[in-house]
């Protein structure tokens, strides 16, 4: 097995706000190997986007970042901006959530791609433009030479996202971080954009971090999955481990709330309640208030992320052993009524 290209170790991020310190990320660790796709799943506010912004070194100045992020062994946290500039867009590229706002409205898209090329390569403007046209062609944009001169507003959402992906792959990066790349798009174009991402990843042989709240997206694309809740990783494992033998009630709940198209008619099982505020989190497991398996220890001790069952499968739950072989409806169904009543 090759050395990891990206190692994140015990990453913490907090933001001072008017009401106190928001601890957005509380100890995230993962490793990414060449060509591997890691899916990060969680509700909004679980810290998955903040984690990737920390990797890119693009958090606002007020953020306090701890822990370690290493690219091929080189520490990025606290590295000088000059150094980060070389890595950003060059070695680690990013695709943002909303293609409608990630492109500058006043420049033609070709120029914006060429700009990324020239930021990392000493080439002429003409050569960079030529590369931009090639990239647009690779992203299946029709008539790329003419389209390169068009402005972002002349493209549809799905096409803009492909322009963004073209920009991300411009410098053959080792890592592509895609932050909810399909969330802002129409369902009909989501598949195209995922396809474009896979094309870009395959062309550059990069590793990819695919951030999403949609387990369906992850199932089709990821090799491994990291589930986050309230700023913490709560389960990490191979995509099959996560789908077929989840060991954390939250993961189980996420799977239970996913509609199935394979003909088995089951009731969807909702997770009641909402994620906790990240201000002054009380002790204990942050999922406890919504958890059907909650016990006394859950209110006092926050469980560690520990190995369960198969190799490379980690979960953070005091009762992960009890979850072996249980299905969402076993855990959630009979209690969902009570807790729904309790929450209202």
């Amino acid at each position: 097995m090759s050395d990891p290209v990206l190692e994140v170790e015990d990453l913490t991020v907090s933001f001072p706000t008017e009401d106190g310190v928001v601890r957005a990320v509380r100890g995230v660790s993962y490793q990414l190997r060449r060509g591997e796709v890691l899916g990060i799943v969680g509700e909004s506010g679980s810290g998955k986007s903040v984690t990737s912004m920390a990797v890119m070194g693009l958090l606002p100045a007020s953020a306090r970042v701890g822990g370690s992020v290493r690219y091929r062994g080189q520490e990025l946290i606290g590295a000088p901006d000059k150094e980060l500039q070389r890595i950003r867009g060059g070695r680690i590229a990013m695709v943002f959530q909303d293609p409608m706002t990630s492109l500058n409205p006043v420049y033609p898209v070709g120029d914006q791609i060429a700009e990324a090329v020239r930021a990392h390569n000493d080439v002429s403007v003409a050569a960079a433009r030529e590369r931009a046209v090639d990239l647009l062609a690779a992203m299946q944009i029709p008539r790329p030479r003419e389209r390169a001169r068009d402005f972002p507003h002349e493209f549809s959402g799905g096409m803009r996202q492909r322009v963004v992906i073209a920009t991300a792959m411009a410098n053959d990066p080792d890592v592509i971080i895609a932050d909810e790349p399909t969330t802002a798009l129409d369902v009909t174009v989501q598949a195209q954009v995922l396809q474009a991402l896979e094309t870009a990843r395959a062309a550059t042989d990069a590793a990819m971090v695919l951030i999403t709240h949609d387990l369906g997206v992850v199932a089709g694309s990821a090799d491994r999955v990291l589930v986050m809740y309230a700023g913490r990783p709560v389960e990490l494992g191979g995509v099959d481990d996560i789908y077929y033998t989840p060991r954390m009630p939250y993961t189980l709940g996420l799977i239970g709330s996913l509609p199935r198209l394979d003909g088995r008619s089951e009731r969807l099982v909702p997770i009641t309640g909402a994620p906790p505020s990240l201000l002054d989190l009380p002790p204990g497991c942050p999922f406890a208030p919504r958890c059907p398996m909650r016990a006394e220890i859950c209110d006092t001790d926050e469980p560690d992320l520990l190995a369960v069952g198969a190799t490379d499968h980690l979960a953070a739950c005091h009762f992960s052993a009890d979850l072996d072989g249980r299905r969402p409806e076993d855990v959630f169904a009979q209690t969902s009524l009570d807790s729904a009543g309790g929450a209202r």
């Binding site: 890119m56 693009l58 950003r88 590229a93 006043v106 402005f151």
Partner: protein, 326 residues
């Protein structure tokens, strides 16, 4: 774009007519323009008064008087002035030139200063520099222009006394007699421009720098600036090429709109520094109840407002590829 321009100009004609009509009514109803004449000692004969009344079209009903005026304007005839020695059309053109010179220089100065201060403030938000610039902007925003102008004038006089010569002029737009060639005329004009320009520029600077700061902050917090950073561009390049370029678009509009407003705003500056510009023309015309002169002034201001509104919109289309007029 041309059709759009023409349509915009046509649409604004009714606005000009309505606006001049209201002001015409106000001036006409505000008092008797012959009061000065009638108040003379010894009183003028009724014939003299009647001749003067006829010259000023006072014998016509009000609506007809307005009609006479507006049809005259089409033929570049701005109507008779109460002051017999004044040709309104000629006077307004000369004075417009004087005021325009003052405003143009002041706007350029204010704009450069405001953009610089606004950008630095936004990039260094909540730093000591930002707080300093914010206070300065609010101070100039709260400064009555006449007080500030008199203050500057006083400062100019002290400076001249200190140096023992005429460094900056504090009265008028040019010296009565200038000896020497073009160069002497130019330096003379420049010397007269310094103080009024500063006083006019700093007042606009207050509001504009706040606007530039807000617009810059908006852009700096946008996704595409973050994405530009994610591409690996340097902070400087992102601020200048991506943020400033886009943040200037609304600023251009504000400047164009305020440019017209400054024509009436310059009244105070002109009064303090005794420039014979449009402002001084308005004040004296009002004092004389010179209805046609006030209307001529209003016409110039209204046309300027409309033209600059149009320029603002056209510039917007030029700078922002998302905007297209057909």
């Amino acid at each position: 774009m041309l059709t759009y321009t023409i349509r915009r100009l046509l649409v604004s004609i009714p606005v000009i007519i309505a606006s001049t009509f209201i002001v015409f009514l106000l001036v006409t109803l505000s008092g008797d323009p012959l009061a000065n004449l009638k108040g003379r000692n010894p009183p003028p004969s009724p014939q003299v008064v009647a001749v003067e009344a006829e010259r000023l079209h006072l014998d016509q009903p009000i609506l007809q008087r307005y009609w006479t005026w507006i049809t005259g304007v089409v033929h570049a005839d701005f109507g008779p002035s109460v002051r017999t020695n004044v040709d309104i059309g000629h006077e307004i053109v000369t004075r417009f030139g004087v005021t325009l010179r003052l405003i143009a220089v002041a706007v350029v100065l204010a704009l450069l200063l405001a953009v610089f201060v606004g950008v630095v403030s936004a990039v260094k938000q909540y730093s000591g520099i930002d707080y300093g610039f914010t206070f300065a902007a609010f101070l100039f925003l709260s400064m009555p222009s006449f007080w500030f102008a008199v203050l500057l004038k006083q400062g100019g006089i002290s400076l001249n006394n200190l140096v023992g010569g005429q460094v900056v002029s504090t009265i008028g737009e040019r010296s009565v007699i200038v000896e020497g060639g073009t160069w002497a005329h130019l330096t003379d004009a420049a010397g007269h421009l310094v103080l009024p320009t500063i006083s006019l520029a700093l007042i606009s600077f207050g509001a504009w720098s706040r606007f530039q700061r807000a617009s810059m902050l908006d852009v700096l917090n946008s996704d595409y600036v973050l994405f530009a950073r994610a591409k690996g561009l340097s902070r400087r390049r992102v601020v200048v090429k991506h943020a400033l370029r886009t943040a200037l678009i609304p600023m251009v509009t504000i400047t164009a709109l305020d440019f017209a407003a400054l024509i009436s705003g310059a009244v105070i500056t002109e009064t303090v520094f005794q420039w014979r510009g449009l402002g001084d023309f308005l004040v004296s015309s009002v004092n004389e109840r010179d209805a046609y002169a006030v209307l001529a002034w209003l016409l110039v201001v209204a046309v300027a407002v409309i033209v600059f509104n149009l320029i603002a919109d056209l510039l917007y289309a030029l700078l922002d590829p998302r905007i297209r007029y057909e």
